[in-house]
Symmetry: C2
Subunit: 214 residues, 2 copies
């Protein structure tokens, strides 16, 4: 794909701001190309110069929504930091960004989350990208002896589950920032580094046989 | 409050089944006393013999929804089990119950979750009750040297956050039972027992200074 011309890029950026305004006004209701053209004061055929169809528009909306998070993940994984601090920043910086976005415009974030649920096929790539970057940090930690006896995939999945409150923007809404604190996030990262390995079952002094009795 | 008569109790139980049917048909839409009386084929004044008002009805719906979970929490905390197995069963048995409920009637569970969100004041008591029982297990573990340097409240809050995927029924819907497994839950419980304490920061061999660089 050829690199878009600068005026096309500027036009797209402006149109994505018009999308923001439409979402502010109308919530998560579907936005058609006709709606967007009208709101931007241009003809539908002109709009198609910027986004060839509605899918391209949705992808651009998602790209813009995730841009800062992707940048954080790139920066953190490339940084020269101890691996435990890397993981803390990997989750902590994105969490703080979400809190900032939520506090600035809670309804706008909620509406975009709803749009994301309606079009999860567009969001999935970003979820996978997050797993990819987390796997890089996990692999680095494994070289230092952490997460012994577990595979990278198992470790990524378990960490994602334990960190769910700090990665799922819905959690900010239903748990609230009074309970979700970056200090707690740091404590959970530490718990993960110290406690997550296949030997946990072998720690003495407690009964390790785990089963469900019905 | 006097113990309700048996025919009143039987009538309530029947009416709560009628509520299930109304929720199956209409989803989370508000159910008025008039609606329920009509669906049950009784006069509104007769309905008030069983539930003195709509709040009493909502409380009865919540009580029935949480009854089995409360029973599990009572049983597990009273059981003569090693504390780590107690915590595993505390979360694992309720998780398996939710999965069973979800797989039996996903739409009914979703609708009740929505109703619970609309009337969170009724749900809050059950959330607090869960914290109370978890605090009993945490206190028992602390007597055995776990969670060193943390308060009971801090520990309960951190464990709730790390176990969120397995306690929040919404997670079954948006993460799915392909990823949420009782074996992973057991691994997270072990991670919590081994890794959650105030000394995690002091573990050698990794940089422990944690801050966000912006």
């Amino acid at each position: 794909m050829a690199r878009p011309q600068t005026d096309i890029e500027a036009g797209r950026e402006h149109l994505l701001e018009v999308v923001d305004d439409l979402v502010r006004k109308r919530g998560a209701a579907d936005i058609s190309m006709t709606d967007l053209a009208a709101a931007a004061g241009m003809s539908p055929s002109n709009l198609y110069r910027f986004f060839e169809n509605r899918d391209a528009l949705l992808e651009a909306v998602a790209e813009r929504f995730f841009a800062e998070k992707v940048k954080i993940m790139e920066e953190v994984t490339a940084a020269d930091l101890p691996v435990r601090e890397k993981m803390f920043q990997f989750f902590g910086r994105r969490f703080e960004l979400m809190v900032k976005q939520y506090e600035a415009e809670p309804d706008l974030l909620k509406s975009y989350l709803e749009i994301g649920q309606q079009h999860f096929e567009v969001v999935r790539g970003y979820v996978d990208l997050g797993d990819h970057y987390l796997a890089l940090i996990v692999a680095e930690a494994m070289e230092q002896g952490y997460f012994e006896g577990l595979s990278i995939d198992e470790t990524v999945s378990l960490i994602n589950q334990m960190m769910q409150c700090y990665t799922n923007p819905e959690a900010i809404i239903y748990i609230g920032t009074a309970k979700l604190k970056v200090e707690k996030l740091a404590r959970i990262v530490d718990t993960v580094f110290v406690g997550l390995n296949s030997k946990a079952f072998e720690v003495p002094a407690v009964e390790t046989h785990i089963k469900i009795v019905s």
